[in-house]
Amino acid sequence: MFILHPVMLVISFVCAGVYAFLLRGVRVLMRGLVLLLPMMLVAAAMNPLFNHRGVTILTYLPNGNPVTLEAVLYGLAVAGMLATVITWFVAVNAVMTADKIVFLFGRFWPALSLLLSMSLRFVPRMIRQGRVIVVAQKGLGRKPNALKVISILMTWALENSIETANSMTARGYGLRRRTAFHLYKFHRRDVFALGWMITMALVVGVGVALGVNRYRFFPSVQFHALSGASVIVFVSYFALGAVPIILRAKEVLVWKRINSAM
């Protein structure tokens, strides 16, 4: 999220965009980006307005501060970064289903992950019970308002919670060595994928730390010419960002092949 090199931004944005498109289709992706458009504009505009460093002065603000070309470019890079992050999160929201979050939490924090999964379960239950209450109130000839419904719902939910808790205790909640159900196993291919990602991330990290692809905005835009090292960093960055796309594409192909074989 803090690499502002334009080439790196484009690589990351393309990877995120393709992946989010594969997962959610073009409409969800566009909606996410359009919703965030005002935020991107503000982020882009903030820089030229408040950042007066840079040598190429374009014009002056009413208060006498200069607007510089460098700050405008910097603002654009920031907006690009924002778009990239949002696109990645469109994908994250599709991939990170609740059961995965609960599983990840459950290793270290069993009580918290139980709390999370219970809360998730209760939300649809509350909404459904809310509808039941509205119907019941109407059947009694009353006109239920939202607060009345919430109040009734609350009583029902709290009373119900006692029953749930008693049932949990009766079934051995809090005893040691209880495990949570999950379908995840660490296979050899996972080792390979993890090793691949760590290696690529390390290459990129070392490259960034050494500054082989430095891109300086202030006081004047300056960047290193394309060198062997910087190409390696770009390729590794792409190899890292493309991992989810490759995995997803493989799954889709396998699925299609199995379907057509049947």
Binding site: A111, L116, R121, F122, L158, M168
Partner: protein, 234 residues
């Protein structure tokens, strides 16, 4: 237990201070985003382990889950009105009724759960912190006298805390997340830009507290009387 808690808080504080100094000296005081993320992790992780080590009783977990679900369902019910949400009100009432720690849990968990429905983003940890702090504050200030607290005081507290704590943290987070080189003016601008939204949010919170505080506090109180306080006999 008491000792344990003090200990962990001290270690937490020390690592945070160390992180800030490391940021100033080794990263040239320029990597605000990395540092702020590290600090967030240093707040959440000890808190999570502290909570686990207490082995919370089943009744407490279910109670928190119910409050979280009410808050999330409330956010869903009012989704067509931006910023006009009962979430802060529910979190504050939970803190007042059940204490700061549970208030923090309800706040942070509500954000995590509702973002699973409405979409996660880089802002999730900041929202969790802000909402958790609001629950913690409400519990610390009002829990010990929750029988006598007036709705108006709570409503004013709610409005203030929504604008200052939630708005303050989220407006700063916006700058920290997306401006690698923040300046003071950017923070000021962000506060100005966010203020109208925060005020609507604060007013909504006050309204919801005025309408809901009494019945919800009574209900939680009633359940604790009827079945026994879960913090005393689990």
């Amino acid at each position: 237990m008491k000792f344990n808690r003090v200990w962990i808080s001290l270690v937490m504080l020390a690592t945070i201070v160390l992180t800030i100094f490391a940021g100033i000296y080794f990263l040239d005081d320029r990597r605000f985003f990395v540092i702020s993320l590290l600090i967030l992790m240093q707040i959440f992780i000890p808190f999570a382990f502290l909570y686990e080590s207490r082995k919370p009783p089943a009744r407490e977990l279910v109670m928190i889950a119910v409050l979280v679900a009410i808050a999330v369902a409330g956010r869903a019910a009012f989704f067509m009105l931006p910023q006009f949400k009962p979430v802060v009100a529910v979190v504050i009432i939970s803190g007042v009724a059940l204490g700061g720690e549970i208030g923090f849990m309800v706040g942070a968990m509500t954000i995590l759960v509702s973002n699973i429905f409405f979409g996660q983003g880089p802002w999730t940890p900041w929202q969790m912190l802000a909402m958790g702090l609001i629950g913690l504050l409400a519990g610390a200030l009002f829990h010990h006298r929750n029988k006598s607290i007036s709705r108006v005081v709570l409503a004013i507290f709610g409005a203030l805390v929504t604008v200052v704590v939630y708005g303050g943290i989220m407006n700063s987070a916006g700058v920290l997340m997306f401006q690698p080189q923040p300046t003071r003016d950017m923070f000021l601008f962000s506060f100005m830009y966010g203020l109208p939204f925060d005020i609507v949010h604060g007013v909504a919170t006050a309204v919801f507290i005025l309408l809901m505080a009494r019945p919800i506090l009574e209900k939680i109180d009633r359940i604790q009387t009827k079945y026994g306080d879960f913090r005393r006999n689990s």
